[in-house]
């Protein structure tokens, strides 16, 4: 870069074989592939839940097969991420305690200086790019952002997944607060990946090291010059002798095993400790019975006046019976068969072919004979007929 423009763009400078340096072991690359998958799925199933009222979010949720399936995918990916975190903890522990490799991912003052220098270089205030080691400040920023994010997402995710357990130890308000933090952190993480990671390793220059596991010497020279210098000086890795390695492994493996079991139990508790709301029965739709009529059978018209109680005379009770059952046809105007029950006098006068009431003798009265046969248009009820018969037998009195 310090070369002048006289050096024109050339294809390959030399024919000698390109020296490649291993950058990521295949286990790390597999972990990255799983992380990339779970993170992406978490993002695309999580953000629609954060913005569930919008059309695009609903379309995505529908695409995943509804909110329950969306949540299931999100939960499964969260579990994958938890397993990855456990793997990473154990793997890092091995590197630190057994292999005693350099903790090159630890941030330091140099990284702040590098970031500042890179920025003012970009602005044109300095001629020199910062010289960086195994991990640049961009990579460290991203790594620690991922660690921070995973911790926040794990804790807040636990609280939302297990709200009742959480409320036993913390104020209930922490649960909606977790949801707010989970959503905010998610937005931050996704946007950081889009801006920082996409630019840093895909757009700036497609860095294939995470897929091939290797970088060329030239790439190393440009991106990790200090590490390259260390490798060439034989300072990068100080492999322990097999005996020491063996001794450290004998200590580390049981510790790691216990730690792994504890963490796996943690994951099990995370997933399975709460199911109350899922197993409770459906609430009933109404706490009171639905059909409780005020009348036995609702009717649209007014109920007719009942037979009034009282002494057996036309004026006291019998007249009303005739009024309700007979007068419709047998009245002064219509007088079917010349018979009217509109008044006491009409009733005793009888029909065109003779009287229908024989005072004192109900059974001889034509009225009783017709009514007893049944089927008359104005049929008296059995009770009414009995009352009328009693009245006739009692002399068919008016008053």
């Amino acid at each position: 870069m310090s070369e002048k423009k006289t050096v024109k763009k050339q294809t390959e400078p030399t024919r000698q074989p390109v020296r490649r340096f291993e950058r990521f072991h295949w286990t790390l690359r597999l972990a990255h592939a799983l992380l990339l998958t779970s993170f992406s799925l978490l993002g695309i199933t999580g953000l629609p839940q954060k913005f569930a009222s919008t059309g695009w979010a609903q379309a995505m949720i529908q695409f995943f097969g509804g909110i329950e399936t969306t949540r299931l995918i999100h939960h499964i990916c969260a579990i994958v991420l938890m397993f990855l975190a456990i793997y990473h903890i154990l793997d890092t522990g091995y590197k630190i305690f057994v292999r005693r490799t350099r903790m090159s991912m630890l941030p330091g003052i140099k990284d702040v200086k590098d970031a500042f220098q890179a920025f003012i270089y970009n602005l044109g205030f300095t001629k020199k790019r910062p010289q960086m080691g195994r991990y640049t400040f961009e990579e460290k920023a991203e790594y620690w952002a991922l660690i921070w994010g995973t911790v926040i997402m794990g804790i807040t995710g636990f609280m939302m997944w297990n709200p009742i357990t959480t409320a036993r130890f913390l104020p209930g308000e922490i649960i909606p607060a977790s949801k707010a933090a989970h959503g905010g952190e998610a937005l931050l993480a996704v946007m950081a990946i889009v801006v920082w990671h996409m630019y840093g390793v895909h757009l700036k220059r497609f860095n294939k090291a995470m897929f091939t596991g290797k970088q060329t010497e030239e790439e190393m020279l440009h991106e990790h010059p200090l590490e390259l210098a260390d490798i060439k000086a034989g300072l990068a890795e100080r492999p322990a002798d097999p005996k020491t390695l063996r001794r450290r492994q004998i200590i580390y493996y049981p510790v790691a095993g216990v730690l792994a079991i504890a963490m796996l139990f943690g994951v099990y508790g995370f997933i399975g400790s709460e199911k109350t709301a899922i197993t409770t029965v459906l609430p009933i739709s109404s706490p009171v019975p639905i059909y409780v009529p005020q009348t036995p059978t609702p009717i649209p018209t007014i109920i007719a006046a009942a037979v009034p109680p009282g002494s057996l005379t036309w004026d006291a009770s019998i007249g009303a019976v005739f009024q309700s059952k007979c007068v419709m046809c047998h009245n002064a105007t219509l007088a079917t068969n010349g018979l009217s029950f509109a008044s006491y006098a009409d009733a005793l006068r009888g029909a065109s072919d003779g009287p229908v009431i024989v005072p004192g003798d109900a059974n001889s009265s034509k009225l009783v004979q017709v009514q007893s046969a049944g089927g008359h248009s104005g049929q008296l009820s059995p009770e009414e007929l009995a009352v009328v018969k009693n009245w006739i037998n009692a002399g068919a009195l008016e008053k």
Partner: protein, 391 residues
């Protein structure tokens, strides 16, 4: 001459006698006829072919009090029409025979029904002649489905609208008159009296029945009026928050009572509301036990939140509501629900400050990244233009 005279007298006598006989015979013929239904006053009532009888003709008999028929079931069918109520009714200008189509002559044809209910079920279909829109709506209703399934107790048109007394209840635009709203719950109560009793005790029902407040919902505001759907379905459950929201997001009504219009927003923003809303949008028939408004606030017995006995503002009442689905919930669990408040420094302060933090943290972090990335892009473009190989 005498013979002639006497023959003339005889002729006269015969003529007189003959005429007398004819008169007598005619008189004998006419008298029974005069007592028959075809007598003079009836002829004035019974219309010519194709014309409907005048209502006055029907009311001539049918306004007499106490007219009734006993049906084979032993029930009494009242045949009296209260003409003063009828004159006030929406149907005052409709001819009786428009509905009672088979009754245009006297004597009337016999009733072909065994019970009162059978009579109602036979009659109500005539309503569609004029009220086709409403009638067709009822066909999809829970009541008509029940009738179709053989439940004769289910309501038909005339159970709610007595055709002889039904007053006009809408204005010129078809909108329900405010005073008409007051009587609606009583109409439904004829069959749903237990629900009515619960409603009367509710915040809505008490305001309507005791204060005559027509801002509050009556039965039909939630259940619909003619196309009343089955409220026990999954679909109804999922849609129900929108029913409450019709009034509870309307500031014109809520401001009068100092009630928040954020109740739907805050519900939808929470786990339960989000799920219910998404179910409703994506799988409207989904079974769910996620609570909707009425699971916590009551179905018909909806109480004020500050009700001294049942109010949800009281922590133990809210906890009881939570425990119906989350039996293990403890006393701090109800605070997981923000009680329809939008987080603020006074309500759900932790949530408010978390949101506030991310409101500034996200733009700060992403903004810094964008600035750095932009500076990097510009620098690399400059170097590429200068011909640098590895940028």
């Amino acid at each position: 001459m005498l013979k002639l005279i006497s023959s003339h007298r005889l002729t006269f006598v015969i003529l007189v006698l003959g005429f007398g006989l004819v008169v007598f015979a005619l008189g004998g013929l006419v008298r029974p006829v005069a007592a028959s239904p075809a007598s003079a006053p009836i002829q004035n009532i019974v219309p010519a072919q194709g014309e409907l009888p005048d209502n006055a003709a029907c009311l001539f008999c049918h306004e007499k009090p106490g007219m009734s028929r006993t049906l084979p079931s032993g029930e009494t069918l009242s045949l009296t029409i209260d003409s003063s109520h009828f004159a006030d009714s929406a149907h005052k200008d409709i001819a009786c025979s428009e509905c009672h189509t088979n009754i245009v002559t006297f004597p009337h044809p016999d009733l072909q029904v065994q019970t009162l209910r059978e009579f109602s079920l036979q009659m109500y279909t005539v309503c569609q002649k004029c009220h086709e829109e409403q009638y067709n709506k009822t066909l999809d209703s829970v009541h008509m489905r029940a009738v179709a399934a053989g439940d004769t107790n289910a309501a038909v048109c005339t159970d709610c609208h007595n055709p002889h007394t039904q007053p006009v209840i809408t204005d010129q635009n078809g909108a329900l008159l405010p005073e008409a709203r007051l009587s609606i719950p009583e109409i439904c109560a004829r069959c749903h009296s237990a629900i009515y009793d619960a409603y009367k005790q509710s915040v809505h029902g008490a305001a309507l029945t005791q204060e005559g407040n027509t801002d509050v919902p009556t039965c039909i505001d939630c259940h619909g009026v003619h196309n009343i759907v089955d409220p026990t379905t999954n679909a109804f459950r999922l849609q129900s928050p929108q029913i409450c929201a019709k009034c509870h997001t309307n500031p014109a009504i809520m401001d009068k009572y100092g009630i928040s219009t954020q109740v739907l927003n805050s519900y939808v923003a929470d786990f339960h509301g989000t799920t219910v809303t998404l179910f409703e949008k994506i799988t409207p028939d989904q079974v769910t036990n996620k609570p909707v408004c009425f699971d916590c606030h009551g179905v018909h017995d909806i109480k004020r939140v500050d009700d001294p006995v049942y109010g949800l503002q009281m922590k133990q009442n809210l906890l009881k509501a939570c425990q119906r689905c989350h039996p293990d919930a403890n006393t701090s669990f109800p605070d997981a629900w923000m009680s329809h408040y939008i987080p603020s420094p006074t309500h759900s302060a932790i949530v408010y400050y978390v949101n506030l933090f991310y409101k500034f943290f996200i733009p700060a972090v992403i903004g810094s990244m964008v600035i750095f990335v932009l500076s990097d892009i510009v620098r690399r473009l400059i170097e590429r233009l200068k011909g640098a190989k590895h940028v």
